[in-house]
């Protein structure tokens, strides 16, 4: 079916991305080779980056923390995946659902609460010291890796569990009847088969931690981290190197792009997991062992959620600056609301607009990716909508600011630039999740409609969309809840009057106003968890598609 309608749609989406993403990135690229605006071409920024300790340390730190987090999440996620998929632990569906939550909730809240608990004046820190354990604080490398592990282990866990549970049982049985012991079978057969999935998950952990802004901003303290340094360089009025923010942005893109290329070129091709035939045998454990195994699983998934429980609880406590008083109080909420309800409105409004636009572009894009495979325009679209994955929020914020602060289209300083940034970041997720729904939808259904006399375009609305609606809704809700906690590009782009909840929270943390911060944190948590409750049914399939 060569319908000009779809070719035109693909072209339109590509043009939008060229205009709103590729040209802005190209401007950063250009800026990275200039020491001042409109200056001559020079490699000075890159030379400086390599020679000044505080600069190259930021590169080293980012990569080191990314790799270390990848390793720790493997250590947490893989055994958990094995237990949940192979042993009869209690409430598997619940474990899996709970495990997805840290990915949806703002990592910044997690960092904020861990500081309240484990900071220099933290509650647990005091307790540890009182019983004689010389605990310093969570700040620094350890804290960053710790927070990222709690936050990002689900990537490894979910990827591995889907690999484990789609592996054909007969493959392991074949090894066993050939005389291989269970342990040897695991090492020589099962593990190599799930390894590509584990590494894919670990790469996602690496990318997410490298581009994360909020966590290193407060837990890294003075430690140079690329995503934070780029922001500081860009926002400081009298930066010693005006072009340095651009250079850091490009380096950040290069790191994430490398890992994405490794994933697509190397790991995706080594995906041995076939469509499931026989489900792997679930081993029945004795009651005691089952209890121990189940407790272990719940300990991990609930431990990762501690910050969110704590944030909810302390939001109802009396606070004076950074000091918490254990009395029930609605003071924080009253203060947050009376000062202005605007940030709540802003968050919801911007997330809704960006989600709707993402749907409008993303669903047809997903359709083109699946139903028009092996056409030039579908291939181009595939590459183009992959780009936002490799552009960290901080970098996108910088790119959009410099691209639209002058010229024919001035968006810098308007709310539209925020909606634009969110749309660019989330549309690929909507497109991917639409595509994955469509993969499962037999194209014969559409052909049946067409052969009965309904045109391809009408068929898309009468049949295709109708069958996708549940999945699309789930994708939209996921996009919406992750937009409201988007910090890294918002912090660069938000104009006066358009501060969002996460920005208010950020300002609260920075200015030691923990009361406001915790109030906004718990509104954010509720705004994330309540919509997710509606789609728990879809969550699992959806999650793997987004990965």
């Amino acid at each position: 079916m060569q319908s000009p309608f779809w070719r035109l749609t693909a072209l339109l989406i590509i043009i939008v991305f060229v205009f709103f993403l590729i040209i802005p990135i190209a401007k950063i690229m250009k800026g990275s080779f200039q020491t001042e605006e409109a200056g001559p071409f020079t490699l000075k920024n890159y030379k400086d980056f390599a020679s000044y300790r505080s600069y190259w340390r930021s590169f080293f730190n980012s990569v080191f923390i990314g790799l270390a987090s990848a390793i720790t999440t493997i250590l947490v996620g893989v055994p958990l995946a094995f237990i949940v998929s192979r042993w009869n632990v209690m409430g598997k569906a619940l474990i899996i659902t709970l495990s997805t939550l840290p990915l949806m909730l703002p990592s910044f809240i997690s960092a904020f609460v861990w500081i309240i608990l484990l900071g220099r004046q933290g509650m647990i820190t005091h307790f540890l010291r009182s019983i004689g354990i010389p605990f310093e604080s969570i700040y620094g490398y350890f804290g960053l890796i710790f927070v990222f592990t709690c936050q990002l282990y689900p990537y490894v866990f979910l990827m591995t569990i889907s690999a484990f549970s789609t592996m054909d049982e007969s493959i392991e049985e074949a090894a066993k009847v050939l005389g291989s012991s269970p342990l040897r079978t695991f090492i020589t057969v099962s593990f190599p088969l799930v390894l590509p999935s584990i590494l894919s998950g670990a790469l996602l952990v690496f990318m997410s931690s490298v581009e994360n802004f909020g966590v290193p901003m407060i837990i890294g303290e003075q430690m140079p981290i690329l995503a934070v340094s780029a922001y500081v360089q860009f926002t400081s009025e009298i930066g010693q190197h005006p072009g340095m923010a651009h250079t850091m942005g490009i380096i950040l893109i290069l790191i994430t792009m490398t890992s994405l290329v490794v994933q697509r070129r190397y790991l995706a091709k080594r995906n041995f997991i076939q469509s499931a035939r026989g489900r792997p045998l679930v081993k029945e454990l004795s009651t005691l062992k089952k209890l121990v195994a189940s407790s272990y699983c719940y300990f991990i998934v609930l431990f990762a959620l501690i910050p969110f429980f704590v944030a909810m609880v302390i939001s109802f406590m009396e606070m004076r600056g950074p000091v918490i008083h254990p009395n029930f109080s609605l003071e924080n909420y009253i203060y947050a609301f009376t000062r202005s309800a605007r940030p709540i409105f802003n968050s919801y409004f911007l997330a809704t607009i960006a989600t709707l636009v993402s749907l409008l572009i993303g669903v047809p894009a997903g359709y083109i990716l699946t139903r028009h495979q092996r056409t030039a325009y579908s291939g181009t679209l595939d590459i183009v909508i992959m780009l936002p994955f490799v552009v960290a929020g901080t970098v996108l914020g910088i790119a959009l600011t410099i691209a639209f602060n002058k010229g024919i289209l001035i968006l810098t300083g308007t709310w539209m630039i925020l909606a634009l940034s969110y749309t660019i970041r989330k549309m690929p997720f909507v497109a991917r999740s639409s595509a994955s729904i469509l993969y499962q939808l037999n194209p014969e259904l559409e052909e049946a409609s067409i052969s009965l006399g309904v045109s391809p375009m009408k068929t898309f609305f009468k049949v295709t969309i109708r069958l996708m609606v549940g999945g699309i809704l789930a994708g939209a809700i996921l996009a919406w809840v992750t937009i409201i906690s988007e910090l890294s590009s918002t912090i660069i782009l938000y104009p006066p009057g358009w501060s969002t909840m996460i920005i208010e929270m950020f300002q609260g943390v920075i200015s030691d106003d923990m009361g406001t911060a915790s109030a906004f944190a718990s509104i954010l948590i509720l705004s994330t968890v309540i919509p997710l409750l509606f789609i728990t049914r879809y969550l699992r399939g959806e999650q793997t598609s987004i990965l």
Partner: protein, 358 residues
């Protein structure tokens, strides 16, 4: 004539899926495209439906050239391999889907849909959703939905391949009966030769994108045009050898040292010749019988395998080193069943030999 395919070629990259195919299908005919998977039969069907564009050739419905007509304006009904019943619509809504698309008068829709549902014996299930139906019922919905719009041509793409063996046989005779009643020109795709023989008016056997033979079922079976058709339709014994001598009505051919009789050929002694004998052309003789009295060409061999299938028994008989014949024997009493290793006499009528000169 109702439908014409003229020199149609369809390529996918370097692969020529359909290669210069020409066909003429009569009005009301039940026409089957038969061939192994990957032979191009489904691609050709989809070209006729309009789901792909042939690079060369034309497709005509009556005298109207259809190449440029998009699939939704072609007036074909199509039944898909995986049924493609819309899962979000009830049986009734599935059936009226095409009627509504074709802007059928409102008062006509109801009666026509009910008639179609009754026709495929789904009366009473109108309100059911597809998830509440069995595979066989889904197939009937798909057929009703395709037929209710009274299409010019009905296209069926392996519609029975997802049903179990028994249901497949039942449904195919129902499809045949429906088609006979409605006289809808039908093109049916299958890889199952028995199915094709059972329901078709005519069959086109395809391989490697080309039509190998077109004919009525018995013509294709008894007189296959080439080795591929002979081997694809039923089983056969295929021989290559050189002529040794001839008499009035037969020629003797030497196949790996064994001499076999075929109808008289005019070629000179020593020419190469290929021929085939169907397993059922042989007759295993009882002790009291002799081949001469029955007018059969006599053979003698050792049974190397026996496969008892109830209505028939399949023997493999070794005549000489490397010459093994497949021989079918029908309706034998149990005590006359031969055993592996036994030496038997059997024979065949040379007139039933199929000669391939190409």
């Amino acid at each position: 004539m109702s439908l014409r395919v003229v020199g149609v070629t369809k390529r996918f990259g370097d692969l020529v899926a359909v290669n210069k195919v020409s066909l003429q299908i009569e009005r009301g005919e039940f026409f089957t495209l038969l061939g192994p998977s990957g032979c191009g039969k489904t691609t050709l069907l989809r070209s006729i439906a309009g789901f792909n564009q042939p690079e060369e050739g034309e497709i005509y419905f009556y005298e109207k050239k259809m190449n440029k007509v998009p699939p939704h304006k072609r007036d074909v009904g199509m039944v898909f391999q995986n049924y493609a019943v819309f899962p979000h619509l009830s049986v009734y809504d599935n059936v009226i889907y095409g009627l509504k698309a074709k802007k059928t008068a409102a008062q006509e829709i109801g009666p026509r849909a009910l008639k179609a549902i009754e026709m495929v014996r789904l009366k009473g299930l109108e309100k059911r959703l597809p998830s509440q139906l069995s595979g066989g019922q889904l197939q009937r919905v798909a057929i009703a939905r395709a037929l209710v719009v009274e299409p010019e041509v009905l296209l069926m793409d392996e519609p029975l391949s997802n049903l179990d063996a028994k249901l497949r046989v039942e449904t195919r005779s129902e499809i045949r009966a429906l088609q006979q009643n409605l006289k809808t020109t039908t093109i049916y795709v299958t890889h199952d030769q028995e199915e094709a023989l059972a329901i078709s008016d005519r069959i086109a056997v395809m391989d490697f994108g080309k039509i190998q033979q077109v004919g009525r079922p018995w013509e294709i079976y008894t007189n296959p045009a080439n080795r591929f058709v002979a081997e694809f339709i039923g089983t056969t014994n295929f021989f290559e050898g050189e002529t040794v001598s001839k008499n009035e009505d037969s020629t003797l051919v030497s196949v790996k040292g064994v001499e076999l009789a075929i109808p008289r050929q005019e070629e000179s002694k020593g020419s190469q010749i290929s021929f085939a004998i169907r397993p059922e052309a042989f007759r295993v003789l009882e002790d009291t019988e002799t081949s001469l009295t029955k007018g059969l060409f006599p053979l003698k061999g050792r049974i190397s395998s026996v496969e008892y299938l109830g209505t028939l028994t399949k023997y493999e008989i070794e005549l000489a080193e490397g010459v093994i014949l497949k021989v079918n024997s029908y309706d034998i009493e149990p005590d006359k069943l031969k055993q592996t290793g036994e030496t038997v006499e059997f024979g065949y009528d040379p007139k039933r030999v199929l000669i391939y000169k190409d």
